[in-house]
């Protein structure tokens, strides 16, 4: 063992935990090395002084102060309504709840408005178509003649099929709409004369 290895074993020697062989080597080295002897003596004294350091004592009111703090730390048992109040009836929750309600109401209003608007557009378009068809019964395909007399407004909106009946498929601004079937009587007896409808 060199001096460094001897130093590493200071504690083991002091606490008497060295095995027999290591103890022999340690003692032998110490007998022959004055520097290590001196260092070990200082080491032993330092540890001894450490053991003799005065112990700090807690103040007499340590326990009572602790008990007071523990009482404050204990959770207060609240009833259901009190818990509800403390947890949910807070400014944060009130504000959030209000905002959610506002969003829901606005959503419902916009939805309703949209539906009404759509219905009105469909109704207007249908009424207009029906009216025009009523006014101008000839603006349909007539079976037999295969002649089509169109008016600009009805070009894309009237698609008749079948004999003696016309089936109209209405479209509004290019989008397919609910099909409305209007039964119209077509007059075969009156020939279409020139000079306009």
């Amino acid at each position: 063992m060199n001096c460094l290895q001897i130093e590493e074993n200071f504690s083991s020697h002091l606490e008497d935990t060295l095995d027999y062989q290591s103890l022999q080597i340690f003692n032998e080295h110490l007998d022959n090395c004055e520097a290590c002897q001196k260092e070990y003596e200082l080491f032993r004294e330092s540890v001894s002084e450490l053991h003799q350091l005065p112990q700090e004592q807690p103040s007499p009111d340590f326990l009572s102060t602790l008990q007071q703090q523990l009482i404050q730390e204990q959770p207060v048992r609240l009833s259901f309504w009190q818990r509800l109040n403390t947890q949910f009836i807070t400014p944060k929750w009130t504000l959030s709840g209000g905002l959610v309600m506002l969003l829901v109401i606005t959503g419902i209003f916009l939805y309703q408005f949209n539906i009404e608007n759509k219905d009105n557009t469909q109704f207007d378009s249908l009424t207009q178509t029906e009216k025009m068809v009523d006014d101008k019964t000839s603006s349909v395909f007539v079976e037999g003649s295969r002649q089509r007399i169109n008016t600009p407004t009805l070009r894309n909106s009237i698609t008749p099929s079948g004999i003696g009946s016309s089936i109209f498929s209405n479209t509004v601004s290019g989008k397919p709409m609910q099909r409305r079937y209007v039964l119209k009587q077509v007059s075969y007896s009156t020939p279409i004369t020139g000079g306009g409808l």
């Binding site: 590493e8 200071f10 004592q57 326990l63």
Partner: protein, 202 residues
């Protein structure tokens, strides 16, 4: 009356508050001493010791008697609190004006001497020189401990001041047995080197 800490903890877990009071009575002194020695601040030590017991009180449900000793658990919590406290304190100290300490040093020695005489133990009152010498030595040792790096300070205090076993220290500091032993030996050598100038003059 149950003797073991574990038994008292089990009683406390069942709702017996007196069991916890008994545990506090039993361990308050070593805990305050450990924190005071580690932080070097006696007044703050009491607050930190109380905080340790409060944390133990709150976390009592999670304590498993077979797994760790009450004492090991207590020192483990205290160690973490000390660590945080020292970290916070070092942050605060960074903002302090340096010349405050230099001004204090001018008159510090005289005040210290007066303090040493005033607080000398009563049993050595007939030998005031010895009393002052002892007090001064303790003061020097305390300063030397405070100067040790944390990783060496903890095991040294736990072993040589608190008297814990290597196994207990290993559990508290989460170190292996070999590491614990070598750190304690290293800490003692560091302390010896710090005290050497003082010890050689005695």
């Amino acid at each position: 009356m149950p003797e073991l800490d574990d038994e008292l903890m089990q009683q406390f877990q069942k709702g017996d508050e007196n069991a916890f009071t008994l545990l506090v009575r039993r361990h308050q002194q070593p805990l305050v001493n450990f924190i005071a020695k580690f932080t070097g601040d006696r007044d703050n030590a009491e607050d930190l010791a109380q905080e340790t017991f409060i944390r133990m009180y709150k976390a009592a449900d999670r304590y498993k008697p077979g797994r760790a000793q009450f004492k090991t658990w207590m020192y483990f919590i205290a160690k973490n609190l000390c660590k945080n406290d020292l970290r916070n304190r070092s942050r605060r100290d960074k903002f302090r004006v340096d010349n405050v300490t230099s001004n204090n040093n001018d008159n510090g020695d005289n005040e210290e001497d007066i303090d040493l005489i005033a607080t000398a133990p009563a049993d050595t009152a007939l030998q005031p020189e010895i009393a002052i010498e002892r007090k001064e030595l303790h003061h020097t040792i305390q300063n030397a401990i405070a100067e040790l790096p944390e990783q060496y300070r903890y095991p040294l205090i736990l072993r040589d001041i608190q008297g814990l076993s290597y196994d207990e220290i290993g559990k508290i500091l989460e170190l292996r047995s070999g590491t614990t032993k070598s750190r304690i030996n290293r800490a003692r050598i560091m302390l010896k080197n710090k005290l050497k100038p003082y010890m050689e003059t005695i």
